[in-house]
Amino acid sequence: MTTITGDHISAMHDAQDRAAASTGNRAFPVRSLRDWQVNALKKLARLGLLKANWDSYGSSPIPDTVLDAAADLVSAVSLERVPPVNITPVSGGGVQFEWEKGARKLVVEVRPDLTFGVLLAHGEEFREWLVRALGSADLEVLLVWLDAR
């Protein structure tokens, strides 16, 4: 199969972005973050400190890969206005984001296998999905739904 890609980058212009990609430590540019995202990242950092058996049911610590995926997901959201988010660890090594506004509720779980569980609830009705990939653009669509009157 042949695909056209933009992968061969002129290093003169994009070197820094690309260099950062080869690093093992993560850093989030301040210029791209809002307060709620900073708080979300700080909460994820605290979840990263959980020891084995943190839930007293034998759960392992939250893997870095899950925390990274969760951090990537929220740090790239570009919406100005986002309802407060509740972030909790999930037994088995996942992370859950929960937003609520009025009768609407949005739950996104980053699972240990790096798939995503999504739940939308509106009053008594709800829908659930399990998806292989969930980007920040997808999350923005869900957050806009949550915020809709």
Partner: protein, 274 residues
Amino acid sequence: MAADRASVLPEFEHPPVNETVLSLQFTPIPKFGIPHFGLYWATVRAEFPQFQVHPALPSVTEQLGEPLPRQARLGIQLVGEPDARCWFLDRSGNRLLQVQKDRFIHNWRQVSGDEEYPRYPSVRSTLETQWGRFCEFLRSEGLEAPHVNQCEVTYVNHIEYGKGWHGYGELSKVISGWSGATSGDFLPAPERANMEVHYRLPNDLGRLHVSMEPVFRGRDYKEVLQLTLTARGAPKSSALADILNWLDLGREWVVKGFTDLTTKSMHVIWGRKS
């Protein structure tokens, strides 16, 4: 060669280095597939017992001829199976090897934040040893030897606030070329500042890229000034001696560049020895 260069390089007792990266990029190895990651892991698992899977990095090559247009160029890529990059981590997580079909990378990084930087000779030595093993693995699998087209040396420095400076109004206390001066008296002190500078190595040997950016670091989400220096260029050949020679040159530019770009008062704080 490393020792010769090291003898004249600035040295710091407590450098603010958070991570170093030595990367070798080569033409994609034909027939290198997903199963080879596991087979290779078996050869290094005793030292690097943990693994993670990440998306592959794109190929990056310094263009040293005529300037290119701003946008990324399109390339054609034959896709047989998904590109992947595997991380193989040591028990501490401080050292890792990254492997993909056209890259071999060795990182040293701080994880808890109190680890002392093991210094370049140690990181270089690990790269040399592990690269040799990787090449031997490719041979044993009947795969082509890698043709290295780019070498890269990256140092990521985290300069914390409150240690010699307090906010971006005092950035001139950190960055030697930053005056902070304005023509008038309208603007207040900057809240934050970013900078990107590129330098060309002599004789078309490559480039040094410098970026300065306020970041929340992933370890503790503390805001720091991240100063990243990346030297990249092509080695004379794929021979180990030429690869190491380029890495030594890249490291020299990174270290001397860092020293030039930062102020003497910060050098005192970081314990400059030479």
